[in-house]
Subunit: 368 residues, 2 copies
């Protein structure tokens, strides 16, 4: 698989103005190379040189990871003393003849640390953001990638099904998040969750990116749970909103509006249309209901090896949907200091439209 992907990069490079692509540890480096490194204090830079070579600058103690790779790679290892590191960069950039050349990088992943070593080693090189080239590699998913996403969705759904019966008035958001994380593992998620579950109730639910607190669940709360699993490096990202006992009738109304907006957004995905139509379909429902100003974010984002990636489902994004693109539909209404609702599903664009990978009931459900 990695050999095909490296060839994909070489193809993309040959059609670009770039002489090379440099990748930092993270989803793109893993996608291209099959190599799993963490972003830490020791730099690990993968270089794909237009024309056919690849190289990696890495700590000596990581050399073992290069054994049994299905493609050739030149390695530039360095020792533990940071004073030696720039030598490895200089040797690599010189061997690959990259000074004065155009080098693509991922501005969302390359740090000033690596950029410092790279520019010191190739002072006349011209570094450009290669987001477009990298997106062209990862934007549409192959069948085995969709299979992994589907499995990540199933594991997440099973984990929440097992968590719901344990939720009681008086439990804190943190306790619920801990229990759900445990169930994610038990259901088969990889240990590295895509993100810590968001569990927010009552006025905390008015914050779309809330961090679980010690606040205890009360009768009348809405409870937002935003969670996901990871399988073979691919992740899920779902949200459901529950009622704790009897809630204010306006909350029930808001929940219905968001559920209809979610359904409209899910129905709008289709190859050949722009990403904007997904956002507009969902937003339109909420605006008509009069709650438009409380839907404060885009309708969704791409999903794959990263929790947020291209394509973004925004009303101004004219990017065209293609078969195999995967993304979330997650409209919400957030009433400041009062409450919030979000309902989120993971979608894949199919030949005839789009399919929701997630199918857990979306109606308001009383728990606790």
């Amino acid at each position: 698989m990695s050999k095909d992907r490296i060839n994909k990069v070489h193809d993309a490079l040959s059609r670009s103005n770039l002489d090379a692509l440099v990748l930092n540890p993270g989803a793109s480096q893993l996608y291209v190379s099959g190599l799993h490194f963490h972003l830490m204090e020791r730099p690990v830079i993968l270089i794909i040189r237009k024309g056919g070579t690849q190289a990696i600058i890495l700590p000596e103690l990581e050399l073992q990871k290069l054994a049994d790779l299905p493609y050739e790679i030149n390695n530039y290892p360095y020792g533990e003393n940071p004073e030696e590191w720039s030598l490895a960069f200089k040797k690599a950039m010189s061997d690959l003849d990259l000074d004065g050349k155009v080098i693509g990088m991922e501005s969302l992943s390359l740090r000033m640390m690596e950029y410092g070593y790279l520019t010191e080693a190739a002072r006349e090189a011209n570094f450009q953001d290669a987001q477009e080239l990298i997106s062209s590699l990862r934007l549409t998913k192959e069948d085995n990638e969709v299979t992994a996403l589907r499995e990540a969705v199933n594991i997440a759904q099973n984990a929440l099904v097992n968590t719901l019966p344990l939720i009681r008035v008086g439990m804190s958001e943190k306790e619920i998040a801990g229990e759900l994380s445990l169930q994610l593992f038990r259901s088969g998620s990889q240990p590295e969750l895509p993100f810590s579950p968001i569990v927010s109730a009552g006025l905390n639910a008015a914050n779309p990116h809330a961090v679980p607190t010690d606040r205890k669940l009360k009768e009348g709360d809405l409870l937002v749970i935003d969670w996901g699993a990871r399988v073979d490096g691919y992740i899920s990202d779902l949200t459901r909103t529950f009622a704790i006992g009897e809630v204010d009738p306006e909350m029930v109304k808001i929940h219905n509006v968001v559920r209809e907006a979610n359904a409209a957004g899910r129905a709008a995905g289709e190859p050949g249309k722009s990403c904007a139509v997904v956002d507009m379909a969902a937003r339109n429902v909420i605006e008509k209901s009069g709650y438009g100003k409380f839907f404060t974010h885009r309708t969704g984002h791409g999903i794959g090896m990263e929790p947020h990636e291209e394509p973004y489902m925004r009303g101004d994004n004219l990017q065209i949907m293609q078969v195999g693109m995967t993304y979330t539909v997650e409209p919400g209404i957030y009433i400041p200091d009062i409450n919030g609702v979000r309902i989120e599903d993971d979608m894949v664009v199919t030949k005839t439209g789009s399919e929701s990978l997630s199918n857990m009931d979306r109606h308001i459900r009383v728990i606790g």
Copy 2:
């Protein structure tokens, strides 16, 4: 707490040549501000301006997180369309009068994306790595930080105690890592583990940063488990090495050497001495045994809110140990394609020497 810490930054700035400090989401931003943001595609930049103001550039949908902060902060929110983002940066940098000024940043955390917006907004500003200033804030831990680290160690130890009886010949490294992760949660770790447990057996144990595989445990393997928990944002990082059934006598010998090296490294920590002495004490034991060339990494690293941070325990690091510094001691011997041993503890420098926060038995123990 966050107010004191912001004041600490202002004190440090007033003694530096910097006019401001910019911080990206991550440990330092959280340490200074108490604000918890993930590093994603939407930039979130905290700016501390010498002389007394602070500001934050962030997505509108995150504004709720600024409610109830114990200090004042000027906010520069932006909407969902990336074309608007640079306006927020320009307004902030202009209000703070930062063009042409000296701005400190963290090169291990600031990405090219944020750097691009910052330099576009302040073309004549001079960006410098402020690693030293930031380290001076986080390098020695206060009592409540050591308490959290101690708790993270206890949780990790309890989790492994609960996992060991479940380990059997025939289990895969991945299965053991999954079970251990589950036990980490059950024992009270925060959902965001500091790192996925490393579980590596037999020849995989020869790779210090191995990723768990489907390889199944066999009689005669050494089994390296490197794991940690997170509590209140602070983490533990421990390693123990076990024998699966009867192992080669040379493996027992290597294990004893590493255990002695670990003990020597733990005994060497003392305020006023250099970090190098810890590395030399551990390394000396391994070199005397004849296995020196198989100890391929530094003896340890600082530990706190990040899995690796200052101070680094290297033979060339003349940094002086101070009361409250926390770090790992983790010598290892790695015989390529054969086997490996590592034993790791978490330490704190005390007034009279140093204390190991971890106390789990370090002798070779037969399991499986």
